[in-house]
């Protein structure tokens, strides 16, 4: 495939369009997607690339996201490199097939544009959709800008298709504040991307010449072992993820870690963020540092497998950790990310106070000032020793 875009210099491009362009560069064989709401420009643009004859792939427009993921399971089972994209209600409708994709060890790559779930009907950004899918057995990676979307999509195919992993992977981006925003993004030479990924050769595939059965019954004598095998595969994918990120950095540049840090040296308090709002939060960290507040930022990139040890090492010595979630686990532990962070820290001999703040729901903007206020509020809770289990911020009382 020729380079559709100029290589090596930043181009002003909408992130959804960039997502489609990089998927085409990754030489996918099959794209199955539900083409209307809640869809983004991603599959619309991929359909154009296929129709233009620039990508030799089957584009399957289906009647629902349930069917989209089912078609992806079928195409991945015959050994095709497979991609889909969805968000919010669409991801929820895929729910049961997500478990099947991971259970059958099919390396599908999906772009998830994180958006709210109804009711009330809301098409705007938050992370309610993906947090409901955290237990589906997929590798799950968050991004915070368009360049990361492009880079992590290439990495996602390489990670998913590694013989030691063979699991599906989700690349997340924030709805609207990323998906519909034009950013400067640098593209790589298509042939270099394809050489980096190689040709996908599945260890097992559906083939009439050698019949096999994918998806048999797992009776009680088998099911526990099957779950254990998947759990170990996802846990051990961490090693491959690190290898792929290192190989990517060597080949294309960039630097990716499971957990990124910002101004954490000597920080007594840490603000933990996930996704596109991390950049807004970083500006708040700068302002607070200017005021003499010893606060730093920890940004979670890898959501599954969850980097427990990394977080324990980074957060364990702090006085207070303030986790900002764009999802509410209603009447439960509060923020899903905060809940996981608490799990990472609980068995430490000494651990920080963890405050779970929830905001940015359904497209509600969170400003630099909001993040600064939230940190000050958290410091107050640490001082008083009376932190709530969780707190929804920016809500009118």
């Amino acid at each position: 495939m020729k380079n559709r875009l100029e290589v090596g210099k930043p181009l002003g491009i909408e992130i959804s369009i960039a997502q489609a362009e990089v998927v085409a560069q990754c030489d996918v064989d099959v794209i199955a997607a539900y083409p209307i709401t809640p869809q983004t420009h991603i599959v619309e643009h991929l359909a154009e690339i296929v129709a233009d004859g620039d990508l030799d792939a089957a584009f399957i427009p289906v009647e629902s996201e349930h069917s989209a993921m089912s078609a992806c399971v079928g195409s991945a089972a015959v050994g095709a490199r497979t991609f889909t994209a969805t968000c919010s209600q669409g991801l929820a409708l895929m729910h049961e097939i997500l478990y099947i994709a991971s259970g059958l060890r099919l390396p599908i790559v999906m772009s998830c544009v994180n958006r709210a779930l109804s009711a009330p009907i809301n098409i705007w950004g938050d992370q309610s959709d993906i947090m409901a899918e955290r237990d589906t057995g997929w590798v799950q990676i968050f991004t915070e800008d368009g360049q990361e979307v492009v880079d992590q999509t290439i990495c996602a195919f390489k990670i998913a298709e590694d013989r030691r992993v063979m699991l599906p992977a989700i690349v997340n981006m924030d709805g609207f504040s990323m998906s519909h925003v034009i950013e400067p993004i640098r593209f790589y030479d298509t042939q270099k991307v394809r050489d980096f990924l190689g040709v996908y050769e599945p260890p097992l595939r559906l083939d009439p010449a050698k019949p096999m059965m994918f998806g048999p019954v797992g009776i009680p004598e088998i099911y526990t072992e099957a779950k254990k095998a998947n759990d170990v595969a996802l846990l051990e994918s961490r090693k491959v993820i690190e290898e792929v990120w290192a190989a990517f950095a060597k080949e294309f540049g960039g630097s990716y870690r499971a957990v990124e840090t910002y101004r954490t040296d000597d920080a007594e308090y840490l603000l933990l963020t996930v996704g596109g709002m991390s950049q807004t939060a970083s500006v708040a960290i700068d302002q607070l540092r200017d005021q003499g507040v010893k606060v730093g930022q920890v940004k979670l990139r890898l959501w599954r497998p969850f980097p427990h040890e990394d977080l324990a090492a980074l957060l364990g010595k702090a006085r207070g950790v303030f986790v900002f979630d764009r999802c509410l686990s209603t009447a439960g532990p509060g923020g899903p990310v905060a809940s996981e962070v608490k799990t990472s820290l609980y068995n430490l001999r000494e651990r920080p106070t963890v405050v779970s703040f929830i905001g940015g729901l359904g497209g509600r903007d969170v400003t630099v000032q909001n993040f600064a206020d939230l940190v000050q509020k958290g410091i107050g809770y640490v001082a008083s020793g009376e932190a709530p289990i969780y707190e929804i911020v920016g809500v009118r009382e």
């Binding site: 060890r105 260890p203 097992l204 096999m212 998806g215 004598e221 526990t224």
Partner: protein, 107 residues
């Protein structure tokens, strides 16, 4: 390759895939049955409808010679009770009502 009866998690095929074809023959389902089919061979005309409709592997051709109304039949259809789940489809479909379903444990 025969699949091991109780494999450890390390021994499972990727995604629990069954890599050899026709392995359902190794999975005996006959003990699911609560009714069993019985054929009255005087009524049976060896037409094979029961064989066609059987959803499992429990009907098979059995060589057996018999004359019915002047015609020589060389094969009949026997039950394989290792697989027959007792669904009764053969009895329902039999055009001569030669097959009846009888509760297990009763004559």
């Amino acid at each position: 390759m025969k699949t091991k009866l109780n494999p450890t998690w390390r021994e499972l095929e990727l995604g629990c895939t069954v890599v050899e074809a026709g392995s359902s023959a190794d999975y005996k389902t006959g003990d699911w049955r609560s009714f069993y089919p019985k054929t009255d061979e005087d009524k049976c005309i060896a037409c094979g409808v029961c064989y066609i409709f059987c959803p499992d592997d429990s009907r098979h051709l059995a060589p057996r010679k018999k004359k019915v109304e002047g015609a020589l039949y060389t094969h009949y259809f026997d039950f394989n009770f290792q697989f027959c789940k007792g669904c009764g489809i053969c009895a329902a479909e039999c055009p001569t009502h030669a097959i009846v379903m009888i509760e297990e444990g009763k004559k």
